[in-house]
């Protein structure tokens, strides 16, 4: 099974940020079996990283692996769509 690499940009303890971190951790725990890397970047502390990555919206999740690289913005509250967007297919899990 391929490794999943994510970057999540959040803004301190804003409602959306807290909710997204929780949701994402839960999804990863339940579906990826520890086989993932997740970097959480707080733009309050590291605004230069937001600049580098050209982040506009909060929260932004960047999927680095599996390719293609894609960006998911928003609080990730539609579970099935999030799974698809992260490249976690339920069909793959069964195999």
């Amino acid at each position: 099974m391929s490794i999943h690499v994510f970057q999540l940009f959040i803004n301190g303890h804003s409602l959306n940020s807290v909710e997204t971190v929780d949701t994402l951790l839960k999804i990863c725990r339940e579906n990826l079996n520890g086989n993932y890397q997740l970097e959480i970047i707080d733009i309050q502390k590291y605004p230069e990283k937001a600049e580098e990555a050209g982040i506009i919206a909060i929260p932004t999740l960047i999927r680095l692996e599996p390719t293609p690289v894609s960006r998911i913005i928003g609080a990730l509250n539609v579970r099935s769509r999030v799974l698809a967007a992260l490249g976690i297919s339920s069909m793959l899990n069964k195999v």
């Binding site: 803004n11 605004p47 937001a50 506009i56 919206a57 909060i58 960006r71 913005i73 769509r81 999030v82």
Partner: protein, 532 residues
Amino acid sequence: MPSPLCVLLDTSDLRVFNCVVNTFRHHPASKYSANIYSPNRSRLPMNLLKLETGNASFDHISDGGLPLGRTTLVAGSSGSAKTLFGAQFLAMGIQLFNQPGVFVTFEEQVDDIRKNLKSFNWDIDTWEREGKWIFVDAAPKEENIIAIGDFDLSAFRIRLESAVQKCKAQRVVIDSIGSIFTQFHEEMHTIRRELIQVALTLSRLGATSIITAERLEEYGKITRFGVEEFLTDNVVILRNVLHNEKRRRTIEILKFRGSNHEKGENPFSINKENGIVIIPLSAMNLKHVSSNERVTSGIPKLDDMINGGFYKGSINLVSGAIGAGKTLLVANFINGIREKKERCLLMAFEESYEQLNRNAAGWGISFAQLEEEGLLKVICIYPEISSLEDHFINIQEVVESFKPDRIAIDSLSALSRTSTDKGFREFIIAFTSYLKHKEITGMFTSNTPLLAGGTSDTEGNISPITDTIILLRYVEMSGEMQRSIAVLKMRGSRHDSSIRKFSITDRGAEIGKHFEGISGILTGNPMLIKLE
């Protein structure tokens, strides 16, 4: 009291927004007490502080520049020079006032902007290295963006703020705000709510800023996505209208709340040296001085007809059919500079330099010698090589460097070919008021389409603002074409009212007796009247 931010999250309705702002304003610890969204602006004095943009022509029509520390919405259709307007605002700030600036791009890629602006000789690379110009890149990326759930633009606000603080920016440009709606097209409400936050951030930072926005029609709703609902205090509209196969660019300051500015559209042009150059129409108004001093027309008999010569600083029109002697009058007008050692600029739009020289020599006038003495400058160009606005700017530049006392334009009719009627009328108004402002005596020629009698459209536009009109008309008498000259009007002076014989000889112009016993010359149907 509920937290005002919570109220904001619920809606993008303007009324609620104003309430929120009011809450801010009355909150004792509020940082927003001097917020630009104050609805009580009308109580402020009309001399609100302005920031000189550095674009002289814009500062002129805006009565001093952009409102200081506030946000101005610059709206325009695609290709209306919004980006240039913003970039010039930053570039001039750095060049002239050493005020650093931040350029936010939502639309074009940063590299493209750098490249496009190079042609204006603005050294953005160096400014970036010196930390005077910072790009905030919010342009769309190649990567796929998927929106799932609620989000905000706080990352953008934080980046904007840190860029402004980093270079201590006094000027900010956001170009263009409509693109963010297209980037996040499914989330209109979120974007509107977030843009209000961006506007608040800008006003808190205290930088003078420009936000550009698209519009779909030249005359209609201010912006495509209705951002004027929350960026409502200061609005500038750029237009690029196609009319009769010609493009005409104009700028209009729709409102600067609490401040004076020119009303209505002013044409503008874009050139490499100066970027956007606006031609103010009403700006110079009718305050110019009227001189009583007379200057010679170069023909003593004509001077007699107009009671001693043209007024200095007056605008004089010579109207006539082809070959009626207009260029001859111009040549004499130019030669007239000898009397008081004046300087003259001749803009020839019909004939080449050699042709002009040869013809003038035929009438005993040497342009070459006048030029050698440094009294005359002749510029021969085809009117079609550039737009009327550009001609105006070019003439202004020559006038500023050569400092002539007189200017001759041969002919206005040729120049009028390059523009729409409206554009030409505006040009004439702006140009004559410019000349009067500079106290330059002008002679313009205009062609009439008919050999005898008649007037032209050009004259219809120009005659109300000229001081003197001289008519050169053919008179068909007993199978012979004769020329005539008459002074139709002369402001502030007596003048000869008779229609006189006019002939062109080796010695130049000769003005003879008046046509006795003939009527109908001006209508083109001369008739002999038997005198009792």
